[in-house]
Amino acid sequence: MSALTDPKGAIAELTRPEGWVLGVSVAFLLFLLAALLTGALGPTYFLFLVGLAGMYALLSFGLNAQWGFTGLINFSVAAFFGIGAYGSALMTASGSPIAGGFNPLVGLVVALVVALVLALLIGIPTLRLRADYLAIASLGLAEVMRLIVLNERWLTNGSAGVRGIPGFFSGWPVLSTFPETMPGLRLEVIPGSPVILETAFWRASLNVLLVLAFAGTVYYVLRRAHRSPWGRVLRTIRSDEDLARALGKNTYSFKMQSFVLGSLIMALAGVFYTHLNLYVGPGDLDPITTFYAWVAVILGGSGSNRGALFGGIVIVTIREGTRFLNDVALPIDPAPLRLLLIGVVIVAVMRYRPQGILPPQRELIWPSAVDGRGTPETPDSGVREQKGGGGDE
């Protein structure tokens, strides 16, 4: 917003952690750019990574809507992610054991509807439970989901997974043939190491556009929702559920709404993953996916959407960085190393910065109400309405 008109002022306003995150991000971007230009990092692979980061950001947004906003400990992220992935894969893939061959948009809708149903099925029994019981119950139900996907071969192909998934844009008027029609480009920024852009590159850039659209929309919706009166009720529930109930709010209903919203976003991440990876298997429902999202959210700062975005990028760095490290420097199996890093990050954050790196501060307040810029010109749903109770929706 103001960063474009007054960059210096915007930088001066940053808090210290914000400055650090900004500095590290810029350095990391420069590093990636250098790797791209020298050809050390293939542009197609780079775009795949961007897509993956966007996907984890989406997943973290979903979890943030549950844990960050309302304080629901949902350990079934992987189940909703998997439902989204399998829902769209089974509808669209040529190798699908049921229907298959539909337009990816149909897959998207079906995946979201199935995720909605599952969210209600899991939410109705568990959301009344105490927080720690919810954690255990949701992890158990996610495991049930994984076992079903693994064992019901007639429905999901079992451990073989689903192959033959088309890209998201197949069947669209222009975009389905866009990668093929684009000419191959050959950039030679640094002499001797040309960067070649081919069909695969254009396909990957379409995916990136897609995830940017998804993530951008979700980010915007969540931002508005979090600041709205509805979001304020959720935040009240998070800090003191009894208080929210005493104020006359039906907390169960609010929790359910936030649970469903988050679950749909997770399923959306799954849909995108299907068309990015073009293969889904039961391994994608492994609990580790859940904890990737958790690390992203608590590292970024619970309740903070930009924190979730930052966390998503860190997760991809850990995921792909360990693979890279294994190829280049240390011959350590990347799987346990990843697990170790995730564990260390969780413990370190809880030990030294339990509120996360970018905890929500100003972003929770309606922008015109901060920084002593005089009284806000009566926002239609502002901070001051709290006394009057405000509207629910």
Binding site: D132, Y133, I342
Partner: protein
């Protein structure tokens, strides 16, 4: 196999679950959080025993088909699990200034660290203790019971440990302090109980029993870095079924969940035999009640118990 055979298997598996669930329940009531690293504490015990057994060998004679060296390894496994748990409490949990939900999340990180270290050191493949596999006891085979001497040893050792814990809780000073703390930590502290020390002992006992459970699990099945995490939810199911915070409830819950887990094939034959109407329901039940879903059934029971009786079968009161 006959019903008796399934029951016998259930008894063996239950012994392992009981060992795990007691520790989880103790820590849940005294340290006051759901410890997701408990399953991986079992893995630590199992691998510590594996290393020890590999180093010392059989040491001559054998009891119940198990060489003396294995019992030494068992003790080392228990000790290693306890030491690791106490070190974690001292280094990680104690300095933390967060609520029980924060501790829960931290314990997941701890679980990953344990598992990752084991996987880096030992690889992710299955291994076994280097002990000759036993044939089922001949005299029991006609009854359809196929248990080995090792299984008998597992049940026997578990009974010894559980009885020992019972004596400790009911008749010793430490046990009384622990029960007091589980009941009301603040009241315990103002009564002059050194709650920190009691908490440490809780970790020692809970993790030690988990270590024993891990060693027996390795003997019963195989060892793998994921063995504990895979069992964790089953143990949670047992603890919740028995009522969180109740040690005797956890024993009962562990027994029931272990039995149900191993009796699943029997249930599926029962379902096939029953005339269930309509046909699609019978088909659905037949496909859902099968060995593949043995763990899933435990989780569904767990959720059902949480809904109907959040205090479990024994309730909160009886520690």
């Amino acid at each position: 196999m006959t019903v008796l055979g399934y029951l016998a298997n259930g008894l063996v598996f239950s012994s392992i679950i009981v060992l795990g669930s007691i520790g989880l329940s103790l820590v849940y009531s005294i340290a006051d959080f759901a410890n997701f690293a408990h399953g991986d504490t079992m893995t630590i015990g199992a691998y510590a025993a594996l290393v020890t057994f590999g180093a010392v060998g059989g040491l001559g004679g054998a009891v119940l088909g198990l060489p003396f060296g294995f019992f030494l390894a068992l003790v080392v496994g228990i000790g290693a699990a306890a030491v690791v748990a106490v070190a974690t409490e001292k280094l990680i949990y104690e300095p933390l200034d967060i609520d029980s939900i924060g501790l829960l999340i931290t314990s997941i990180g701890i679980a990953f660290i344990y598992r990752a270290l084991i996987q880096i050191r030992f690889g992710s493949d299955f291994t076994r203790f280097d002990i000759q596999a036993q044939r089922p006891i001949e005299s029991l085979v006609p009854y359809g019971v196929r248990v080995t001497l090792h299984d008998v040893a597992i049940v026997g050792s578990a009974v010894v440990l559980v009885v020992g814990l019972h004596v400790l809780l009911q008749y010793t000073d430490l046990g009384r302090k622990m029960r007091a703390m589980a009941d009301n930590p603040d009241l315990a502290r103002v009564s002059g109980i050194r709650t920190k020390r009691v908490k440490l002992w809780t970790w020692v006992i809970g993790a030690g029993l988990a270590g024993a459970g891990g060693v027996f699990l390795g003997l019963f099945n195989q060892l793998a870095p994921r063995m504990g995490f895979n069992l964790l939810l089953v143990i949670f199911a047992a603890v919740i079924l028995g009522g969180i915070g109740s040690v005797y409830g956890a024993m009962a819950g562990g027994f029931l969940i272990g039995m149900i887990n191993q009796l699943t094939p029997f249930f599926s034959t029962v379902v096939e035999a029953l005339p269930i109407w309509p046909g699609w329901l019978a088909a659905a039940l037949e496909s859902l009640i099968s060995i593949e879903y043995a763990n899933a059934i435990a989780f569904v029971i767990m959720v059902a118990v949480l809904l109907v009786r959040p205090n479990g079968i024994a309730g909160e009161a009886a520690t």
